[in-house]
């Protein structure tokens, strides 16, 4: 029996559900879009007219059954080719949790789109074809998402129906994933035998695999740690508050307050803070919101800070608590995922956007390419499209940086081509983020 429709007319969770962002990753044709279609269908998140529309579209393409992957593959070209080109965002809710789902493409050439989806995920849902085992492309995506800081993994051993629910096919993936998860230092990794096509162990527990008594996919998603992809690492490391300044607000009667989103840890009225990169000390006089002042601002909240001293602060500066403040530097090592078809080489000049600051940057050196199979750095002098490598960068203005391992906001940046103004790389401050 499918679950009742969302709330059945009763409102779900009121105004205070928590929010889990997850990305579906894995190789092409392992069934990612079908799984999301199944998950939405079985939790009755799809409206009747949407189901009708995908039935008609499936029939027009001569498909015998309703192709649930059409739920997320919404572009004309995707439906023609039966592939996912770009991330589709879908939304679902259970009584106390709202889900933002980024269904990512599996093809190597769309790695930039996969990284887009994974960069804000709390959890990665990995699809593995149980018959084929863990393919190189899946392994690559797991590594990229781990590098991006996604450390909760739910692995679906899919197409178990085609394997006649043979436990050894499942066990093989469990063993492969166990080793990989350990090497990548993931916080959690659950492997679930499923059939996305038929819905086994997706929302409803299946009788087909009596040897499996673990959670369904939905169980795993409901029990995973939600609470803000950007803050979890900061919280775990216990570093202090950071506020990259977005905008200066003039307060009535004279003063100014500095608007931005709180990151790394909360701010409280009276907190001593340092303004970076200038390095000036002051104190939080008040925390302002559009709904009035608040004594304490949690991570993830957009606020503005009113400070006790009159300091020259503008967009791009960072207000930090004194507890383990970021490092100010114009020369640093970083891990980058390169998206451009022209290779990245030492001497290249680009623009860099870090928090709310854009600055010219030069590539001092390319240290090597990160081999996602061996999980080690190999000597190289340039990065080609979709390579992950380590580079040394020098910026025109000093930046207030944390390593990415400590903070996904103050430890990340993008590189921008000066001529085409396209975003050409995702960057993470420090060496590749792996535990071991």
């Amino acid at each position: 029996m499918p679950s009742p429709p969302p709330g059945g007319g009763q409102e779900l969770g009121g105004d205070t559900m928590d929010l889990l962002r997850f990305a579906t990753i894995g190789s092409v044709d392992d069934g990612k879009s079908t799984l999301i279609g199944r998950l939405l269908f079985d939790t009755r998140q799809l409206f009747d007219d949407q189901v009708d529309a995908i039935s008609v579209a499936s029939e027009r393409r001569g498909l015998g059954e309703v192709d649930l992957s059409f739920v997320t593959d919404g572009l004309r070209a995707e439906r023609e080719q039966g592939i996912t080109i770009d991330v589709a965002y879908r939304y679902a809710a259970t009584p106390h949790r709202k889900f933002v789902i980024a269904d990512c493409p599996g093809h190597l050439q769309y790695t930039r789109n996969m990284a887009t989806g994974a960069s804000t995920a709390d959890l990665a849902l990995v699809l593995v074809d149980a018959g084929a085992g863990l393919r190189e492309q899946s392994r690559r995506h797991i590594c990229i998402s781990a590098l991006l800081g996604v450390d909760q993994l739910v692995v679906c051993a899919n197409k178990m129906d085609l394997m006649e629910w043979d436990k050894s096919a499942y066990q093989k993936i469990v063993d492969q994933m166990g080793a990989l998860a350990h090497t990548l230092g993931l916080a959690s990794c659950t492997v679930i035998p499923i059939s996305a096509l038929n819905g086994d162990n997706v929302v409803e527990r299946s009788d087909a695999a009596p040897w499996y008594d673990g959670p369904t996919v939905l169980d795993s998603l409901e029990s995973a740690q939600a609470g803000g992809w950007a803050s979890q690492h900061g919280l775990r490391q216990g570093n202090g508050g950071r506020l990259p300044v977005q905008w200066v607000l003039r307060q009535p009667g004279g003063g100014r307050s500095y608007a931005g989103m709180v990151n790394g840890g909360p701010f409280r009225t009276g907190d001593p803070v340092i303004v970076l990169p200038q390095g000036q000390y002051t104190t939080v006089r008040s925390i302002e919101t559009a709904d009035g002042p608040i004594p304490r601002a949690e991570v993830g909240l957009s606020i503005s800070l009113n400070l006790t001293d009159d300091i020259d602060i503008s967009r791009g500066d960072l207000i930090s608590s004194l507890e383990e403040p970021p490092t100010v530097t114009d020369n640093f090592e970083a891990t980058v995922c390169w998206f451009h078809d022209r290779p990245l080489r030492a001497g290249d000049r680009l623009k860099l956007k870090h928090t709310t600051r854009v600055t010219p940057v030069v590539v001092e050196s390319v240290e090597g390419i990160f081999d996602v199979n061996a999980l080690e750095l190999q000597v190289a002098s340039e990065l080609s499209e979709n390579d992950i490598g380590v580079v040394r960068l020098r910026t025109a203005t000093p930046l207030a940086l944390d390593t990415y391992k400590v903070d996904r906001i103050t430890g990340s940046f993008v590189l921008i081509d000066e001529i085409t103004i396209a975003t050409v790389a995702a960057g993470m401050v420090g060496p590749p983020r792996l535990q071991s």
Binding site: D18, A88, K98, T190, P215, Q225, G300, S302, V414, T423
Partner: protein, 335 residues
Amino acid sequence: MDTAATLASRPVVPAGPSSGRAGQPNASVTALVRPFGRPLGHLDLLESLAIFIIREVAAESERPVLLFSGGKDSAVLLHLAAKAFKPGKIPFPVLHVDTGHNFPEVLDYRDAQVEALGARLIVAKVQDSIDQGRVADPGPVASRNRLQTTTLLDAINQHRFDAAFGGARRDEDKARAKERVLSFRDSFGQWDPKRQRPELWQLYQGSVRPGEHLRAFPLSDFTELDVWQYIRREQIALPSIYFAHERAVLARDGLLLAVSEWVSPAGNEVVENATVRYRTVGDATLTGAVRSEAATIDDIIHEVSASRISERGATRGDDRFSETAMEDRKREGYF
């Protein structure tokens, strides 16, 4: 409900990575539990991210504008823009692309909202595009939905806007579900869904060259239900047509259309007085009403929670032209 306590006590069921056995608790995961404070709810997070996006785009673009239709999503967008810059005023104008096929209640509402916020209103009229020969006149009663694109792009060119905020949500349509928060438009106003900019973390990269512009969608992650819950929490005023009222309607192409100067019964069509409300606000010639007794926001939230038909499916004729009607219009430069 104390969400922090729930988080702490929620069972964690990861497989031990090394044991490879599902269902074993993993001690390392408990370290992820927030050590302090009360986590923010989904509406707090959605609001905060939307404000962040509005401030980023306002800071990085030279001449931003906010697209306002008078519908509930643009009402939420305008409210968020006001919150982002409070106690200051919204530092950009508001643009209404006027099809000329309006619900009078919506125009009254538009003017009242803009005046209350002290914002500057620009109205770009589809009728002017027709009069100037920019688009062919489809006739007085035909839909002007698709003509809006020309009027919108002309207004963007004329005012040299380099960023336009819109209230579109990703749950509305399968093409919108693919679109970035900052969506790049070339000098012809076109969207190329196969070549979207990577959009990592919250590093919204909004640079454009002369003649190009961005569309910015701060409500991307809101669902229809989130919008209603947010309207309730923030007590945002809406046009009266969103609430149940008596209206003369007729059924056409599966839509319940209001009888107006542009819509009158043809052939066997029968006019009836029904109790209806609107789920979306658009061109009056192809925006359908739904039968509803929902007179309050709570009633509407109850109704939306139970609905089996999507918001646009129930009410929008403009999405019915083809399987990829929204993608096709967006490629041309539509909202």
